[in-house]
């Protein structure tokens, strides 16, 4: 954009249909005429993408010139534009006539009927039947084979919006326009179809299609929806804003919300298409109580909640408050999590509440909190476009956080440099300027060597450190011996590559560290986090747009669950349970003395259960028997409990151990808020009523509390449902950094990024602006990070390193995704052991062979998939499939500061299973 000396856009004054309007120089005529309240038809334009200029229906008249296409023509000072005239109508009609001459005339049968841009245009210009006689038309066969992308390419108008969406938004480049002229057509891959072309099924092509050439199944099945509700996705931590289309209480389909601040009108396959789980046949629809014969019986809500409240009270009263612990859920809303921790602290009187961030990003929250004063990422997603270097560590966002992964990819293709530290050859590792394929567990060594190079070669921002940093001398001393050659021995990474990476970071103008669970779940995660923060402080890459250190959070509301206090050591807003001021504030608000001692963390809970000191647990929507490491240990602990209540939407492996199962609801059935990975608080809104027999999770907790004699101040009186807005008001009152958050503002502004101190505060996209941190002293603290070996190392018996993670088409333990049509996709059907062809050859394993993967704790059997995405010496599995519970293998070693387990570092050996006549794999979801 052209700017004035003050950096403001130069205004251009034009008139549109006689009305004066001023727009920044460089704007298109379309922008100007929309700003003036005018409009023209468009068929090939999308505000998510660059103008294309193909359909020519957006022509406008300019005084003294031939008509111009408004979508790509820049405004000219003083120009007078007309959007409608007899000439323009004639041109539009004659162009529409051409389009319709190669388009089936079956509007009434078409799923796009009523929301087809071509149909609207034909109506607007008064086109009936085209005059062209016997035109040669294209009649490609329709193709229904893909579960989500139905092809009726005879309707294609050649606008290339699908191709451009795949390029400019998704960045998968699966689609192209093939050929030339009239026979130009959309192809996928080598003209082999979407699936074979490795389409990621994000559905953006379908979303952008102005006709129904690309169509999704929902509208075919249900017809036109009657309601649209804007809510926030419940899969990963990106926080995509979604529009849920509903008809007669059924979800018809889900589309990206163009106004969504986190996703900017984009979604991935899961958020877009994997929603059928809400209506799955095996949803839990009645409370269940364990019977004497070990089964379950259905029971009424009244009976069940009375039973649960009595038992909880009994445990508390007989064994003391700390004989009870609860695990809250990062899948649930902030309001529900707040109620869970309030239930634990006020009703049960214990701080033993934790959430799954314990097993994912607790080292991130800890490290960021200690060093910078706030347990969250420093920069918003959009900052990838303000960075000139991204260092991505132990994260595979194009699969695990697809919408943000696409954003990183777009930034890199626009010139931002990328360094990837990852044992695997991920999609972004291929794209990277530098890829450091380090051994699992060696993160700290490489981080230390990078710091060594930065210090030794003088890439230091002395001025920034002088003003803002503490502790540099200790770090300098610690790093002295950590040469790249030393780290190379440990990590297997070429020392030259480590030097290059450090120099690239040292020279960057605005660099960001972004990391995933490959940091926090891979041995001494907190020290790896400290290492990255150290580098940011040393080089002054902090507190500026594009410069910072941010974890990419795994679950929809894992940030929020911690933010609102579902942790054993802090209240909401990370206020310590031992801090007198915080205690006083809570005492004043809650009217009781909060429990004084720090509670149990999740791994400690299992140990305490086995030790017999923990008697009762309340687990909200968390499948620990599948998702936590060392499954055998976890299930033994669950079995040892006197009383276990699991609140779930399906009968999960964890629920199988419960004494009582309470049927909760999905995000589609409730209202509240989620906090995404970049501290964005966004509304969740009920799209469908709770499935018959279920209750929202907040209502259940609230009801239990009332039955136990406590008013959690979460409803509008006894017998009324939880009022999430009221709960938010309490969160805001008790959490200084949420002080300005309210439903009124969220509904009006769409989102707020905390810290948001008061009603007048706009929220904080970049924290620590200027280098002043949120620590009490305002300083950024460098932390020495001594190298320690990971808790698990290979040996002769277990010579191979297994690392685990996600794949695109499933989510965590698959509870949701496996109950959706996503399982029809070839890439989503079964778990495989990803192994490098060289390793496979050495062990006589061929592609498709069944292999026993054996660790020191157990073994699972899976099919081998030979791929160069994994490097020699390391194998990879996901944890999405109950048939092959990967976490049977993973270990009990944990981060010393936070107790976060080392899922990513697991020594195994591989045993080829001698071929037996294997039955065809059944892709259906696991039965309840």
């Amino acid at each position: 954009m052209i700017t004035t000396a003050q950096g403001l856009p130069v205004p251009v004054n034009v008139t549109v249909n006689g009305a004066r309007v001023s727009v920044p120089r460089g704007s298109t005529v379309l922008t100007a005429l929309r700003a003036a309240g005018g409009n023209v038809p468009t068929l090939c334009y999308s505000d998510r993408m660059k103008p294309y200029g193909a359909c020519r229906t957006c022509l406008v008249e300019v005084e003294g010139r031939r008509p111009v296409a408004s979508c790509h023509t820049p405004v000219a000072e003083g120009a007078a534009y007309r959007t409608h005239s007899p000439l323009l109508t004639r041109l539009r009609r004659n162009i529409t006539e051409l389009i319709v001459s190669d388009h089936p005339l079956e509007c009434l049968d078409c799923t796009a009927n009523g929301r087809c841009e071509l149909q609207d245009l034909a109506q607007e210009v008064g086109l009936r039947t085209p005059r062209y006689e016997n035109p040669r038309v294209h009649t490609p066969p329709r193709d229904d084979s893909h579960p989500f992308i139905k092809l009726e390419m005879d309707k294609c108008i050649g606008c290339a919006l699908c191709v451009r969406a795949c390029d400019e938004v998704q960045g998968s480049f699966i689609l192209a326009m093939e050929g030339r002229g009239y026979d130009t057509r959309v192809i996928a891959g080598n003209d082999t179809g979407f699936e074979e072309a490795r389409c990621v099924s994000c559905g953006q092509c379908v979303f952008e299609c102005p006709v129904a050439a690309l169509e999704e199944p929902g509208t075919r099945l249900f017809g036109r929806p009657d309601t649209q509700v804007t809510t926030t996705c419940s899969y990963c931590g990106v926080g995509c804003s979604l529009n849920v289309n509903v008809k007669d209480g059924q979800v018809v389909n889900i589309e990206p919300n163009r106004a969504g601040s986190a996703n900017l009108g984009h979604t991935c396959v899961k958020g877009r298409f994997a929603h059928q789980f809400a209506h799955a046949d095996d949803r839990l629809t009645s409370p269940l109580i364990r019977t004497d014969d070990g089964g379950f019986r259905e029971a009424s809500w009244e009976e069940t909640l009375e039973f649960v409240s009595t038992r909880f009270a009994a445990i508390r009263d007989r064994h003391g408050p700390d004989a009870f612990a609860s695990i809250s859920s990062s899948r649930c809303t902030n309001e529900e999590n707040f109620l869970m921790q309030k239930f634990a602290r006020v009703v049960m009187g214990t701080n033993s509440i934790d959430n799954c961030s314990r097993v994912c990003h607790s080292p991130s929250a800890y490290g960021l909190g200690e060093a910078l004063g706030t347990g969250a990422g420093t920069n918003p997603f959009e900052d990838v476009f303000h960075s000139d270097l991204i260092v991505l560590v132990g994260a595979n966002p194009t699969e695990a956080h697809p919408v943000f992964g696409s954003r990183i990819k777009q930034a890199v293709l626009k010139g931002c440099r990328l360094i990837v530290l990852d044992p695997r050859n991920t999609e972004l590792a291929y794209l990277a300027d530098l890829h450091l394929p380090l051994r699992p567990g060696s993160n700290v060594a490489v981080m230390n060597a990078m710091q060594h190079v930065l210090i030794e070669e003088g890439f230091l921002d002395a001025e920034f450190m002088a003003r803002h940093a503490l502790g540099f001398e200790e770090v300098r001393a610690e790093m002295e011996a950590c040469t790249p050659e030393w780290a190379a021995e440990i990590s297997g990474v070429d020392p030259e590559l480590i030097r290059q990476a450090a120099r690239m970071y040292g020279r960057a103008r605005a660099a960001q560290f972004l990391w995933g669970l490959g940091v926090t779940e891979a041995g001494h995660g907190s020290n790896t986090v400290f290492g990255m923060i150290n580098m940011a402080i040393m080089t002054g890459n902090l507190g500026r747009p594009g410069a910072g250190t941010s974890p990419i959070r795994g679950q929809n509301n894992v940030q929020g669950a911690s933010d609102v206090g579902a942790l054993p050591n802090v209240f909401s807003d990370y206020r310590s349970v031992t801090d007198p001021a915080a205690r006083a504030a809570h005492r004043a608000r809650w009217g009781v003395e909060p429990p004084a001692n720090v509670g149990l963390r999740i791994p400690d809970m299992f140990d305490a259960a086995l030790a017999g000191t923990l008697k009762g647990m309340y687990i909200l929507a968390e499948d620990v028997a599948q998702s936590d490491p060392n499954t055998h240990h976890v299930t033994a602990a669950l079995s040892a409990l006197e009383f276990l209540v699991v609140q779930e939407i399906f009968m999960t492996p964890t629920a199988e151990f419960a004494h009582v199962v309470l049927p909760g609801t999905t995000f589609l059935e409730k209202s509240g808020t989620f906090v995404n990975s970049d501290r964005r608080i966004q509304r969740v809104r009920r799209a469908i009523a709770p499935i018959a027999g279920t209750r929202t999770d907040g209502d259940i907790v609230n009801d239990l509390a009332r039955r136990m004699g406590v008013d959690l101040a979460a409803d509008d009186g006894p017998g009324t449902p939880m009022n999430p807005g009221k709960v938010m008001d309490e969160i805001a009152a008790l959490s200084p950094k949420w002080g300005g958050v309210s439903y009124e503002r969220l509904d009006q502004e769409g989102f707020l990024q905390w810290p948001c101190w008061d009603a007048a505060h706009p929220g904080t996209p970049v924290v620590h602006l200027g280098g002043e941190t949120l620590r009490p002293d305002g300083k950024a603290r460098l932390t020495p990070t001594p190298w320690q070996e990971p808790g698990e190392l290979p040996d002769e018996e277990y010579p191979v390193m297994l690392t685990t993670g996600r794949q695109l088409f499933h989510y965590n333990v698959g509870t949701m995704t496996r109950r959706t049509d996503i399982v029809q996709l070839d890439q989503a059907k079964e778990e495989t052991l990803r192994i490098h062809p060289r390793d496979a050859r050495r062990q006589g394993i061929r592609h498709g062979d069944r292999v026993n993967v054996v660790s020191r704790r157990g073994s699972v059997e899976v099919r081998a998939e030979l791929t160069k995405a994994t490097n020699p010496g390391t194998v990879f599995m996901t944890f999405h499939f109950p048939e092959s519970r990967t976490n049977i293998l993973t270990g009990e070693a944990v981060d010393e500061f936070t107790g976060c387990p080392e899922y990513k570092v697991c020594a195994v050996r591989l045993e080829k299973v001698e071929p037996a006549p294997a039955p065809a794999h059944d892709p259906a979801p696991a039965p309840a």
Partner: protein
């Protein structure tokens, strides 16, 4: 255009190397690009498969997915269609029968028959390209030899022909053809003739700004057709801001002379390649480009050989590359072969082709001079335009500006087809009338032919009648009578020609060559061709008022709606044919049809 695809290629193929280059290598080796080649190329370089495929399929040549033993391309440019004995259409029918293969098909024996436009022997047509060799099959026994060669493996015994070049008479201005009499193809002869002296002088004695100044003073306007002031273009490129600070600028020599009936650039490159390189290097020096591209169509194999050799010699002699002529000016010259797409003569399409993405036209602004190749300022100049630069630097812009007429300065090369007595290439001073060119310089009509119409400037030029013959050859004057100067290929039609058939062919050409991006051109050209077919076929009702009204609407939608000149100007010959030759369409009205004009019925 996709910036992302460019970035991916830069990342995975190396800066500036493209999928297009890789596909060209495959095609060079085997005459086609098979699906497996596409797959292998994509996986070897981690490139999007669909992109590799779409790029291959955009072009005639790389679009072929199966090999053939013989490839016969019948030129169906306007000059060959207007050639004697029924022209190329009749020739194609005869070959099709003799070889037992339809057009765009491959026979059981492995002979592929297809069309091409144009081979640049418009004064010798009809012409064909057989296995990469252009030959004339006019007269004698050439056609029989060709068939025998393809059918029985007999020796072809035909050589690539040479166009006639008619040097100006003594005393007439001779700038572009001044070295054509000499032996300047090899570097030694070229240097003896003084070629590269202007470059040396510019590099050693003039600043880039001074070079631009001379070009501005000359009044030179682009010879590719648009007539944009060349000095202003060079200055724009030289002064365009480059946000990434790389200083990267490009010069592109547009030698994709696709206008049927034109063989101007071809002759310049084949007969005087070093003046062409000198002009290109002068432009690069003027606007600060370190890389220059020559985009030369595959239909000109001899030009390709000669230019490749000339570049090699110039490079060895230190005239191309680092530190040219001992100065600190460095410039690489890259010769890129077009793979068969007329649209690549359109500058944005050409740039997309160089970028290795499907060569769809881009809207302007941004103009290439501001954001061209890979987003950097790029001076895209026609070959003839560049050929003028050495003379301008040698003699000064003012001397050059002394020639010409009104706002059209200098001289212009024109090429003529077989309808005139002396077809060939001529250099004329702008301002000369069409009548002088056709009836004085070219000796009038060929024996037995009667003048009917003339089309200047290729397939997008207006069709002019005898009444327009006194129009001076000049951008504005031709525009005023419904014509264009264009690139100044001139095709004369005779009384043998049905101008409705000619217009049908022009519409069909647009359909074949449309890039397929904008709707009016992509669909309109096909509907227009169908409409002409209906009007030309009495069995389908011939010309009717409804069809004429539809044709008018179609022409208006294409003219005002299309994205580039191919779509906006294809209606021009049709409209001028209707205006200047109303009787041509009326001939195709059925006698019984109502609504016919009374005069015709009477």
């Amino acid at each position: 255009m996709s910036d992302n695809l460019i970035a991916l290629q830069n990342r995975f193929l190396g800066l500036g190397t493209t999928v297009y280059d890789k596909l060209a290598v495959i095609h060079e080796a085997k005459g086609c690009v098979e699906d497996a080649d596409i797959q292998a190329l994509a996986s070897q370089f981690n490139l999007p498969l669909a992109h590799v495929r779409a790029t291959a399929k955009f072009y005639e040549e790389t679009g072929h997915s199966a090999p053939a033993r013989h490839v016969v391309k019948v030129c169906n440019g306007e000059a060959c269609r207007a050639a004697p004995d029924g022209g190329c259409d009749a020739l194609a029918r005869r070959l099709s029968a003799a070889l037992n293969v339809g057009v765009s098909e491959t026979s059981a024996e492995g002979t592929r028959l297809e069309h091409v436009a144009c081979l640049g022997y418009c004064g010798l047509g009809p012409n064909v390209m057989v296995n990469g060799l252009p030959v004339s099959v006019a007269g004698s026994d050439a056609e029989a030899r060709l068939v025998a060669h393809l059918r029985d493996g007999a020796d072809l015994g035909l050589e690539e022909p040479r166009n006639a070049v008619h040097l100006p008479a003594a005393g007439e201005p001779c700038i572009l053809l001044r070295h054509f009499g000499g032996d300047v193809v090899a570097l030694e002869g070229a240097r003896r003739a003084g070629i590269y002296r202007s470059l040396e002088r510019a590099l050693k004695e003039m600043t880039p700004d001074e070079v631009i100044g001379e070009v501005e003073r000359s009044g030179l306007r682009g010879r590719g057709g648009a007539g944009f002031p060349s000095g202003l273009k060079l200055r724009t490129v030289a002064e365009a801001p480059i946000p990434d600070g790389s200083g990267q600028r490009y010069v592109v020599d547009n030698c994709d002379e696709g206008d049927a009936g034109s063989y101007i650039d071809k002759e310049l490159v084949e007969r005087d390649p070093h003046t062409q390189l000198e002009g290109l290097l002068l432009a690069a020096y003027a606007c600060g480009a370190r890389d220059a591209y020559i985009y030369l169509r595959f239909e000109y194999p001899r030009a390709h050989r000669i230019l490749a050799r000339a570049i090699e010699e110039a490079r060895e002699a230190g005239l191309i590359g680092e530190g040219i002529l001992g100065t600190d000016f460095s410039c690489q010259v890259h010769l890129v072969k077009g793979q068969g797409a007329y649209i690549c003569g359109e500058e944005t399409s050409l740039l997309r082709s160089l970028e290795g993405v499907p060569a769809l036209v881009s809207f302007k602004p941004p103009y290439p001079a501001m954001q061209g190749l890979r987003g950097y300022p790029t001076a895209v100049n026609n070959t003839e335009t560049l050929h003028n630069l050495p003379w301008i630097v040698e003699h000064g812009g003012e001397a050059w500006a002394a020639l010409g007429h009104d706002r059209s300065r200098g001289t212009k090369l024109v090429s003529l087809n077989t309808a005139v007595a002396r077809p060939g290439l001529y250099e004329v001073e702008l301002g000369v009338t069409l009548r002088e060119i056709l009836f004085e310089r070219a000796g009038g009509m060929a024996e037995g032919k009667a003048f009917k119409a003339v089309q200047v400037g290729g397939p997008l030029g207006g069709i002019l009648s005898e009444a327009h013959l006194d129009t001076p050859l000049d951008f504005e004057a031709l525009d005023q009578v419904g014509g264009i100067l264009g690139h100044a290929g001139i095709v004369v039609y005779t009384e043998e020609h049905d101008l409705v058939e000619i217009c049908r062919g022009l519409m069909a050409f647009c359909a074949v060559e449309s890039c397929g991006k904008c709707f009016p051109c992509r669909i309109g050209s096909v509907r227009g061709t169908e409409l002409f077919d209906q009007m030309l076929d009495p069995a389908r009702g011939g010309v009717t008022d409804e069809r004429l009204a539809l044709l008018d609407d179609l022409c208006e939608a294409m003219k005002l709606g299309s994205l580039c000149a191919l779509g906006t100007m294809t209606p021009l010959p049709i409209e001028t044919m209707r205006r200047h030759f109303p009787e041509e369409l009326e001939r195709h009205r059925l006698p019984s049809a109502g609504g016919a004009t009374p005069e015709v019925r009477a």
